[in-house]
Amino acid sequence: MGQSARILVVDDEETICESLIEWFTMDGYEVGSALSGPDALELAADCPFDIYLVDVKMPGMDGVELLSRIKEKQPDAMVVMMTAHGSIPTAVETMKRGAVDYLCKPFDPNDLSIMMQRILTQKSLREENISLREQLIEQQEGFYDVIIIYSEAMRKIFGTIEEVARSSAPILITGETGVGKEIVAKAIHHKSDCCGGPFLPVNCGSLAESLLESELFGHEKGAFTGAVKARRGRLEMANRGTLFLDEVGEISPRMQVSLLRVLEEKSFTRVGGSQSINSDFRLISATHRDLPSMIREGLFREDFFYRINVITLHIPPLRERSDDIPVLADHFLKRYVQETGKHLEGFTQRALDILASYHWPGNIRELRNVVERAVVIARGRLIGAEELTFLNPRTDAASPCIGSLRELEIHHIRTALDACNGNIVRASKQLGVDRTTLMRKIKRYNLVRA
């Protein structure tokens, strides 16, 4: 029958357990049994089951209490209560506590078969619902994040994506901040054999190491202060899908060792856990950093680098593919026109010239931000040069600088902060100064973070 569910039968009568194990084994399920509530919880702690068949009347911990304890640790577990003496009050109580069904022993074979089919359908629908919701949210958030392929450079990249997507080899995407590394990763995922599975992104640069560890590996209840219940990590949730490690260069060497082991063995344990969990996923990583330099400086492990970098895709910065700029600008214009309801038809030629000549240190993210701002302040039917004065072409590296050194510095700092989404650590690295210096300048010039 090709069943994928794991079932645990809990009954103090051994013959009942044996009988049910025999029945479910015939149907191809993986079945376990326990003769008491505590035994069941111990088994489930090691490796949770999908479906529990629990006898109501058991010495010590009864079935109703066991139901509550199971639901506490596994809210999505499907629990069927069994009883030899059915009573409506008990049935109502167990349904209120989250049981999916309540059956009287002995069962009619037809009823048992129908119940299992219904539970599996419910489980499948629930999982599909969660997956579809996640896809919908992703679509809504990234609805306009389509990939513009116009320039020769991007056409070559997408040709490569078509070739590499089908393999399971880890891919490292490199490129400056804001070039669209995550969008490319999603494109690879959707063209790969993992497309039916989830796409799990993790921003390794935005989390402290301890939080990143919990985010990736998950944790057991009580693993640390605040861990009030067990939580699955991204590594576990990415099973049969794609795990996207964004800003992989920010991962500490210690975490790189842990991840290296996972990538090689395809198994790991949760933080605070002891049970080995298997997860088979496709790995895509991304970074704006120069990892080979970091390896030479001892900041990145060479063995980890070679593990994540079987295939490299480099996304060129926007300034190196200026053919894409008008197409992207038009795409973002349509998006924001739809959102704001403004009647804007396009850009003047002068505006397009300004956009084409700008340096774009923040790449596509900055372009999107610029177009959004221009749409908000636009008065006429076209976005002209007057809506783009904040770009200040005087700071373009290809143009001669005009204005005071102070104005130049203010604008450069502001541009870097915009490009890094206000992240001072990243902006300071981009500007080539330490964080304290940048903080001092922000304070001196009274700059407001983006």
């Binding site: 013959t15 009988s19 029945w23 015939m26 149907d27 074979p109 037809n110 078969s113």
Partner: protein
């Protein structure tokens, strides 16, 4: 009806054991169909007594598991044993069963009690299908998700009627593979 390669030896592989008052025609039809569809040489044993040791007065039925244990201890040169009973069978967890066996076990039992049919010969055909299904379990096959396969689960006599007298290609392959294991390359 599926046919398997004819065996050249006459050695019996499965014995059919009537337990109590079982119509001899039903026994013969079951034996013949197991031989034809599954490919196991069948031998019919003389009737055994009704399995009163398996009777559960609280339920008014007979526990299939106890009959299986008794069949396994029947002295015979055959590897597999299939019991046929007229009485109503049950298990600790199920209200009734048409037949019962252990996956990969040596014994199976089929009850004619709930297989009565208005169609002439209907009961015998139902019994044959259940017997072949349980024999499949003895050979190690689980339930099949293909609706038109004898290894598909049937919880009503009508569902049994809808099954053709054959395995699906995957189960047929598996039966053949198991037979090679049991019968040593035949």
């Amino acid at each position: 009806m599926a046919r398997n390669r004819l065996r050249t030896d006459q050695k019996a592989d499965i014995c059919i054991v009537p337990l109590g008052q079982v119509p001899s025609l039903a026994v013969s039809i079951v034996a013949a169909n197991i031989q034809t569809v599954v490919g196991l040489n069948s031998k019919i044993l003389p009737p055994f007594p009704n399995p009163e040791y398996a009777f559960v007065s609280l339920r008014g039925q007979y526990l299939a598991g106890k009959i299986l244990a008794a069949l396994e201890s029947v002295e015979n040169e055959t590897i597999l044993k299939l019991g046929l009973v007229q009485c109503d069978l049950c298990t600790p967890i199920l209200k009734f069963v048409f037949g019962n066996s252990q996956l990969g076990g040596k014994a199976a039992v089929v009850s004619l009690f709930r297989l009565g049919s208005d169609e002439p010969g209907g009961m015998y055909l139902r019994a044959a299908k259940i017997a072949i299904h349980e024999t499949g379990h003895m050979l190690g096959l689980g339930h099949c998700h293909v609706r038109d396969c004898l290894m598909a689960f049937s919880s009503t006599p009508e569902r049994v009627d809808s099954l053709p007298l054959r395995f699906c290609p995957a189960c047929k392959y598996e039966v053949a593979r198991c037979l090679r294991h049991y019968l040593g390359g035949v």
